[in-house]
Subunit: 250 residues, 2 copies
């Protein structure tokens, strides 16, 4: 398979048609997987806001005060308010805000970015990244899959890597259940989250900085002859780490 960044994309603004911007710069082929950094999806969808758009609640003020005390850094209660507004649940309030976004993704600060954002102080994640992926895919003329990605930290392992937030035109996971290993045994590892592996592959060529390459194309990769299924965010009932965090406090 081949992975390449789409060159020459402009600064994306609210209202821009991402599919059209991509097609102006890349000859997509049927079967490609087009990975789009959520940053530009958010920009196109008008998700940049000034901090002043967020009137801090009592809770946001108390969270910001507590984080200020712990970290020694100034924390804007309006930022805490933005995080609360974007979150379905707070799993950790300290020493940082670990949140479940409205669409089910668990990440720090509800994935709100302050870098690569000229038009406002804050860039919120897309409201519904699966719908964003579908809209981009439906506007593209080639028959591709689309993955909307974000860079995010994770438990246990230092650093960040890209993951999928939303996808369309493919299943999130290869389901190996029922398939056999080299010795005819049924497979132990049953579900491979290829959509996250694609997001990671794309991020190797897009990067985190000023590169100006928010879109990467994966070509000549195929999902293969496997069952697919689409559960990517764990069911809270069987997410024991989430349950442990609910009971824990810093």
């Amino acid at each position: 398979m081949e992975v390449f960044a789409v060159p020459g994309l402009p600064e994306v603004r609210a209202g821009d048609d991402i599919a059209a911007l991509i097609e102006a710069q890349a000859d997509l082929q049927d079967g490609d997987v087009v990975c789009v950094a959520s940053t530009i999806v958010s920009k196109a969808e008008g998700r940049a806001f000034d901090l002043s758009a967020f009137e801090p609640s009592h809770r946001a003020r108390s969270i910001a005060r507590r984080l200020e005390g712990i970290t020694g850094d100034r924390k804007d209660p309006r930022f805490a308010q933005a995080v609360l507004a974007e979150s379905e649940e707070l799993l950790m309030e300290a020493p940082f805000l670990l949140t479940v976004t409205q669409f089910g993704h668990i990440t720090v600060n509800a994935g709100i970015d302050r870098s690569n954002v000229p038009d406002g102080d804050l860039l919120l994640l897309p409201d519904d990244p699966a719908a964003s992926a579908r809209a981009i895919r439906e506007s593209l003329s080639a028959d591709v899959a689309v993955v909307v990605t974000d860079t995010s930290g994770r438990p246990f392992r230092h650093g960040q890597r890209a993951v999928a937030l939303g996808w369309d035109g493919m299943a999130a996971n290869r389901d190996w259940r029922g398939e056999r290993d080299r010795d005819g045994r049924e497979l132990g590892v049953t579900v491979q989250s290829v959509v996250d592996e694609l997001a990671g592959a794309a991020n190797l060529v897009t990067g985190e900085g000023a590169g100006g390459t928010p879109v990467a194309v994966v070509r000549d990769w195929s999902f293969g002859d496997h069952d697919g299924h689409d559960l990517l965010f764990r069911d809270p009932e069987t997410d024991f780490v989430r349950q442990a965090l609910r009971q824990w406090s810093y």
Copy 2:
């Protein structure tokens, strides 16, 4: 960048020289990243064992009994013993064994595999995957980086994806600290775990099944002009999820 599986590798046996097997099948080039599934590293290093090699302790018996009660499946106390022996710490005893391996990787059952293993009932992870990566790299004639990978689950997100266990010839992470975004601001995301993203990219072409492709080469990718650093397993002092799990019980 290009990612391809090395074709035609044989069944790997204890004592095999993985570097020689790879070079017999692939023309490696300077700058390639060679990703090797831990399965074959373990096989070459003689890490396949029969269950009978593990004499269950009192603790292993009680863990197996408890898991049997919870899951309704038969649990072999010798398997629990193997997991205990491979682990520095148990973070969860139920409803499954979440472990910290001796080399610091957090995964279920200490990463012990029961699939793709003909020579024994169990395949343990390599003892020291960083040393394994170094040994393979030093035996290869091209100037490459080597990543030893494994498929592993993760909190919050359903399914498994590949991660790096050990690596040599490159840093684990691109450190973006001090670099600037498109608008001149210092970057918020500071550390990109490229070695995990490379492992994920490789796994897209190696797969989990009977494919017989445990090695993938990433070509024409470059780490780039970034600082690098090598912390991949979080420091326990700042791994709050680990701390929450220590206090939690099922």
